[in-house]
Each structure stands twice: as structure tokens, then as C-alpha cells.
Amino acid sequence: MAATQEEIVAGLADIVNEIAGIPVEDVQLDKSFTDDLDVDSLSMVEVVVAAEERFDVKIPDEDVKNLKTVGDATDYILKHQG
């Protein structure tokens, strides 16, 4: 079953917590991965790969650069999830 927006944000919060050590409550839709959450370009790749696995979605390299905020990633997953 497809994940809801709420479930995706919660899932991303777990992933960002695991990879960058950011508290889950800080991971909100309007937060920028690089500016607010200390996720640099390489950690972002790890976030993306973990999200692909968790939400059964493919996020090609060329789309990764467009995912600036948690909201961008959530919308992308909502639209593309299997």
C-alpha cells in the first residue's frame, strides 16, 4: 500500500536520523537537507538510497539535485512510489 505524506515524512526523519544523527523532530517539510539538516551531497545519496528501499521508488541521479527540502523529497516519493 502506498505511503501517506505523514508516513513518508516520518520515514525520512528516521533515515536522516540514522545517517546524519539529526533528531527526528527536526525533520519537517520546509527543512532544507543541506542548510538545515547537515546532510551534505554525499549523505544525500545515502538518504536517497535508503528512501528508495523503504518506499519502493526509483530516484535517478539526475533527479536527486532537485530534492532540496524534505517537502521536495516527500512530493517526489508520493508521485513515484510503487
Partner: protein, 333 residues
């Protein structure tokens, strides 16, 4: 039809000795920062690199190779005349004909050893090792020298803030010879030419010659795409090499991945779920990315510092421009 005599080789092959050469000039991040807008902290956090070595005019591809090879031959306890093959992997020897391997074979004092260069980027060491093992088991040489050597400083765009800090120069060499026991596992290798744009030389030499471009060719890469492929696809290849050798991560003593970037190494270790007891090569911190030379250089350093010891079981994996990769399990010399 006359019946041909079969060739007769050794039952197995092993690495008998290793040697390295690092150029005398040590280049700290401060020197890199003269030409790019970045910081020491940024470079360290993105790559783990603190210093690298850059070759001077005398430290040519051949000269560095001869130094590294001399140490490997001494470490193996053989003489240069016993060497029947010299394989050099490099992408930064700028005189392409004749192969630099022939000059190295001659200056080392081999007895007209078969000598040739290969081009397999950062997987070059594994490619060379696999060829050497084949030559020894097939019987066309008793001892083969495999050299990874680069002067990547000649192919670095010092104004590109994404790559200026990455590359270094150096040579690493191993002597491969006969063995009664298997000591070089099956190689898992391959190429993905559909990803050739991911890491590449910016333009062909001929474009530079005819003046179509002002800037000397350099190595460029798509950082995020390389990182994803190197960590997640190469972890699968590494696991396949363990499976092919019939061992598990628990059986490993040492992990020597290509020294591309410490972040790649960290993520590979995590993805492969390597146990705590496995020693991980992190030579990239002070040597930078030396492409084909990185694995033998890291191997030599681990043995020299005592972090690894002769007889240890090591997983080696190289990956890079092509894209190409090669992974195998070896017994350390």
C-alpha cells in the same frame, strides 16, 4: 595435424612481495586552497584527504615504477632476471608508444620479460593482478610484476573545486608468483560502458592539439553518481568476490578498497556490514586518490605499519572510470 604440447603452469598463484613509491613533495590542503574557494574542513569532511604527494620532473611514471618494483622484488626474495612479465596499469603516462612497461622491464634488469601497459582506471590493479595470475597458472611466466602508477597531478584541474583536492601521484607494485595453495581468489570484474560519462577525461588530446579547447585535459566526475555506484553497486561486487572465494566477512582480516574517498570507504564498510576486527585501509588521508596505484600503496603501508601482517586474508576492490571494476580476495605477502 601435429599434436601441440600443452603449456604447463603453476597450480595456483600468490602475491609474494609488495613495494610502493610516494613522491617526495607532500601537498597539504592549504596549497589546494590557493586556487579554489573551499576550506580545509570542507575537503576533509567530503573526502578524508589531508595531504597528497605530487611528483616532480624526475619522478616520472617509469622512475616511480622502478622504485616501487625494486622494493617489491626485494620483498618477494627473487631476482629481477626471474621475472617473465611486467604489467603496468596507468592512465597518466603521456608518451603512449612504446609502452612504459618495456622501459621498466629493461631498467629493472629482467631478462627480456614480456611487458605491456593496460588502461583500466582505478580498477587497473585488479585487472593486472588477474592477468598475472592467468599467466602464471597458464605457464607463460613464473613471476609477474604488476604495477599501478599514476601522475594524476598532471590530469587535475586545479581550479575545479569538486576535484582539485582529490588526486595524487605514486606507484605501487606487487610480484605475483607460483603457489601450492590458492592465494588469489576468483576475480569478480566487469565494465559498465553505458556510464562512461560518470568519470572521464574532459576532452581528447587531439582537441587540445588543434586548439579547440584552451584548457589541458583533466579528469572530471559526477560526484553523487560516482558515490552511489561506488558504495552500493560495488558493495554487491565485493560480496560476490567473497562468495566466489568461499569465505564470509567474518573470515576477513583486511579490507583494501580503492582509495577514492574516505566517505566511500566508510559507506562501503557499513553496507558490507564488515565486522569490527577487519582492518580497513585509509591511506587516502595522506596519499589522496592515486587511481591504479592506490591498492598496492595502501597494502604496502598496512604491512609496513604492522596494521596488517603477512598471511592475512584481504578483500581488494578497485572501481573507476569506464566504469570498470575488479574485486578479489588475496592472501597478503
Amino acid at each position: 595435424m601435429p599434436k601441440l604440447k600443452p603449456s604447463k603452469g603453476a597450480p595456483y598463484a600468490r602475491i609474494l612481495g609488495v613495494g610502493g613509491y610516494r613522491p617526495t613533495r607532500v601537498v597539504p590542503n592549504e596549497v589546494i586552497l590557493e586556487k579554489i574557494d573551499s576550506s580545509d574542513e570542507w575537503i576533509r569532511s567530503r573526502s578524508g584527504i589531508e595531504t597528497r604527494h605530487w611528483a616532480n620532473d624526475e619522478e616520472t611514471v617509469a622512475a616511480m615504477s622502478i622504485e616501487a618494483s625494486g622494493k617489491a622484488i626485494a620483498d618477494a626474495g627473487i631476482s629481477a632476471e626471474q621475472i617473465g612479465g611486467v604489467i603496468v596499469s596507468t592512465v597518466s603516462h603521456f608518451k603512449q608508444t612504446p609502452a612504459v612497461a618495456t622501459e621498466i622491464a629493461d631498467k629493472l634488469g629482467t631478462n627480456k620479460a614480456a611487458a605491456f601497459d593496460i588502461s583500466a582506471g582505478c580498477a587497473g590493479f585488479g585487472y593486472g593482478l588477474t592477468l598475472a595470475k592467468g599467466m602464471i597458472v597458464e605457464g607463460s611466466a613464473e613471476y609477474v610484476l604488476v604495477i599501478g602508477v599514476e601522475r594524476l597531478s598532471d590530469l587535475t584541474d586545479l581550479e575545479d573545486r569538486a576535484t582539485a583536492f582529490l588526486f595524487g601521484d605514486g606507484a605501487g607494485a606487487v610480484v605475483v608468483g607460483p603457489s601450492k595453495e590458492p592465494a588469489i581468489g576468483p576475480t569478480v570484474w566487469g565494465s559498465e560502458g553505458d556510464k562512461s560519462e560518470t568519470i572521464k577525461q574532459t576532452v581528447p588530446w587531439t582537441d587540445y592539439r588543434v586548439g579547440e579547447v584552451d584548457k589541458f585535459p583533466a579528469i572530471t566526475q559526477e560526484g553523487q553518481a560516482v558515490f552511489r555506484w561506488a558504495v552500493f553497486e560495488m558493495a554487491k561486487v565485493a560480496q560476490q568476490a567473497l562468495d566466489a572465494a568461499g569465505i564470509t566477512p567474518d573470515d576477513l582480516d583486511v579490507f583494501i578498497p580503492h582509495q577514492a574517498n574516505e566517505r566511500i570507504i566508510d559507506s562501503m564498510v557499513k553496507t558490507l556490514k564488515l565486522p569490527e576486527h577487519v582492518t580497513v585501509a585509509r591511506d587516502v588521508r595522506t596519499t589522496g586518490n592515486t587511481s591504479a596505484a592506490s591498492i598496492p600503496l595502501a597494502m604496502e603501508r598496512l604491512l609496513a605499519t604492522g596494521e596488517a601482517k603477512s598471511g592475512d586474508t584481504a578483500l581488494v576492490i578497485g572501481f573507476g572510470a569506464g566504469l570498470v571494476y575488479a574485486a578479489t580476495v588475496v592472501t597478503l605477502p
